[in-house]
């Protein structure tokens, strides 16, 4: 929570809805999601698989393929402009230049048939109108920056000549080539082993400090959230279930789902015993239950939960929770 001084808002997502039309019915992958990223801040988005984290962020960059997907409503304001209303041309200028993305699996997100140099140079040639020589020099600098040794020699390698961690470094170098204002990292460490994970996260932190970019970090690793982010958005079934500053969320969760997530983290100090898990499965987004989508799995659920959709309760000035019993849960957490 270092950068809360400069509090301008960079990205405002308002009531975003992304639906997929399938034979099985309409899947509301993202259904009324709102959040805000401030300049220089890191926002964490957590949630189980299939909770809409990735779709929400692809929607921000309008990368949802249509058909079957469609952004059905809402607004994505980046620097005050609605991304959803940009022309294809403006959109291309935005992507990679102002908002950049790092994907989950570095093994598949580099083109296997293109030399790394060409892929890196493409970005700056496109957005910064670099000549070949400039782009190449810049690309080598970027590779050195992300800690790839012998960058000048290795730049002409093909992706398969790099290891997973190295490739993720290349992806990060590519994403940061144009000094974007916002970096979206979609589970950047999920496919990597633990030591490399730490290095990559450290790298993102360092580069963020240097460039002042804002970061959206999507992950299901709560440890990563705790160590990296200023604010957290907890998503479930395409909705925001809880939203709070990181410290507050960990200390005083105001939602049973968040509490379940926190309890699911293995505790190395407890000798043995069963790992806690939230019972049940995430719901089928095409056929959501009536009322609160989490109700069937919730240990606090009461009759009202299956009858009425829960309200988005404001607990403190920047802490919200989607639950009928948000205040109670919040109070209980105050231990």
């Amino acid at each position: 929570m270092t950068n809360q001084a400069k509090n301008g808002s960079l990205l405002k997502v308002k009531d975003l809805r992304t639906y997929f039309h399938t034979e099985d019915g309409t899947v509301k992958a993202v259904d009324g999601v709102s959040f805000e990223v401030k300049r220089g801040d890191t926002l964490g988005i957590v949630g189980e698989s299939g909770s809409g984290k990735t779709v929400a962020n692809l929607s921000i960059m309008r990368l949802i393929s249509d058909p079957p997907g469609r952004i059905a409503g809402g607004a994505v304001e980046f620097n005050g402009r609605d991304v959803l209303k940009l022309s294809p041309r403006e959109l291309r200028d935005l992507r990679g230049c102002h908002i950049a993305m790092v994907f989950q699996d570095p093994m598949t997100s580099l083109n296997p048939f293109m030399r790394v140099s060409k892929q890196l140079m493409e970005v700056t040639q496109l957005h910064l109108r670099h000549t070949k020589e400039e782009a190449r020099r810049h690309a080598i600098q970027m590779l050195e920056h992300v800690g790839i040794p012998d960058a000048a020699e290795r730049i002409d390698s093909y992706p398969h000549e790099f290891s997973g961690g190295m490739r993720q470094r290349v992806m990060i170098a590519m994403a940061l080539s144009c000094k974007p204002q916002l970096l979206i990292a979609d589970e950047p460490t999920t496919a990597l082993d633990v030591t490399i994970q730490a290095q990559i996260l450290e790298l993102i932190k360092k580069l963020k400090r240097e460039t002042g970019a804002s970061v959206i970090l999507i992950t299901h690793d709560l440890g990563v959230i705790a160590g990296m982010t200023d604010h957290v958005v907890v998503m479930y079934a395409g909705k925001v279930f809880e939203q709070a500053p990181t410290g507050e969320l960990f200390d005083r969760p105001g939602n049973p789902y968040t509490r379940g997530l926190l309890r699911s983290v293995p505790d190395p100090t407890s000798e043995q015993g069963k790992l806690y898990q939230i019972p049940g499965q995430p719901p089928d987004l095409a056929h959501l239950p009536f009322g609160c989508p989490f109700a069937p799995r919730c240990e606090r659920a009461e009759e009202i939960c299956t009858r009425e959709f829960p309200p988005f309760v404001q607990l403190t000035s920047n802490h919200h929770s989607l639950c009928h019993f948000a205040n109670e849960v919040y109070a209980e957490s105050n231990r």
Binding site: G96, L126, G147, I148, H160, M166
Partner: protein
């Protein structure tokens, strides 16, 4: 056919040396051993040499060279091509014969058997004999080879350009555009290609012999791109949902650039294989058309028109059919061997993890 991981070939995953010597808080130090850059090949390793980046093609090339039939194919294709290219001028320089040279004593030299002079004695003048106008068959076969090869290559090129762009666009754009584009292909597919070619050749009146040839290239190319388009479309369909395409879109790369710079290089393997197998097919079609009298017209010759001529006197002068026929058959065999070899070397399905 799923994704094409070109990097999978022989390297076990864990030989990449990435060591973190100690946990320093900031910035993490990586040690990279020199082995890392070496693409290790299990069967023959270029000892100590740093392989610069092209191991996919290198591996494919190695696999190709291990395939005896493919090597045989390459050698024969190269030999016949070379002979067709320089042979006619050598024959012209040494004996004065060319494909359309009719000797003055035509009656005497008419339909000589191989290696025979007009008086029946042994002679090096006509290793393949002469035709019924006394023209040297060797010179005609080699010149015919020039035309046949040229027609096959250019028609394949035409089919390559049309088929790859068409298929890649259809596959990438998807949806209704894809439906429409592929239905057009289906319709063209269902028409017998011979009829299309005949109609095309009849509709486009060519004045000059060169124009006639160009017409033939066009007609053959126009019917042979269909399969290529289907192959490329299929490949692109399976590739376009891969992360690297999403990553390219996320960097703001435009659609044409994604298709032509990112996707097409990835489908090159199957494309090369199919193109190699298209060459003999087109060559055969050309021979067929020329045999029917629709293709190459006299005085120009191709293997097909030579075979057509020879077939008229098959029972009396069999060598007039055998030599052009055998040459073409050898070429077709070799091209098919080469194509099969290339498929084994490049096709990801045959590649073992």
């Amino acid at each position: 056919m799923n994704d094409i991981p070109p990097d999978k070939p022989h390297r076990p995953k864990d030989d990449q040396v990435l060591e973190v010597p100690e946990r320093t808080p900031d910035p993490p130090v990586l040690q990279v051993g020199p082995e890392m850059a070496v693409a290790e090949d299990v069967h023959d390793i270029v000892s100590g040499e740093l392989v610069a980046g092209s191991s996919l093609w290198r591996d494919a090339w190695r696999r190709l060279l291990k395939n005896k039939l493919a090597v045989f194919g390459i050698v024969i294709v190269l030999l016949i091509t070379l002979a067709a290219l320089i042979g006619p001028s050598i024959i012209k320089a040494t004996t004065g014969y060319s494909y359309d040279f009719v000797p003055k004593d035509s009656l005497l030299n008419k339909s000589l058997p191989p290696f025979r002079a007009p008086d029946g004695s042994f002679s090096w003048a006509h290793p393949m004999g002469t035709d019924n106008l006394g023209r040297d068959i060797l010179a005609r076969v080699l010149s015919g080879g020039q035309i046949s090869l040229m027609v096959a290559l250019i028609a394949t090129l035409v089919s390559l350009v049309i088929g790859v762009s068409y298929g890649a666009l259809a596959g990438y754009l998807g949806g209704r555009v894809d439906d429409l584009m592929m239905r057009i292909v289906d319709v063209l597919y269902s028409l017998p290609y011979v009829i299309i070619v005949i109609v095309l050749l009849a509709l486009l009146p060519a004045k000059t012999p060169t124009g006639q040839l160009a017409q033939l290239f066009f007609a053959l190319g126009a019917v042979s791109w269909l399969t290529m388009a289907r192959i490329v479309r299929g490949q692109v369909l399976s590739l376009k949902n891969q992360d690297f395409v999403l990553a390219a879109r996320a960097t703001g790369v435009s659609t044409p650039k994604i298709v032509f710079r990112h996707l097409i290089p990835n489908v090159l393997g199957p494309v090369i294989v199919y193109a190699t197998l298209t060459v003999p097919t087109v060559m055969l079609s050309e021979a067929f058309l020329s045999f029917l009298g629709l293709g190459v017209r006299p005085p120009r010759v191709s293997w097909g028109s030579l075979a057509a001529e020879g077939a008229q006197h098959l029972s009396v002068y069999p060598w007039q059919l055998i030599f052009p026929g055998a040459t073409m058959a050898l070429m077709l065999f070799s091209l098919n061997f080469l194509g099969d070899g290339l498929r084994d070397a490049l096709d990801p399905q045959t590649r073992k993890e």
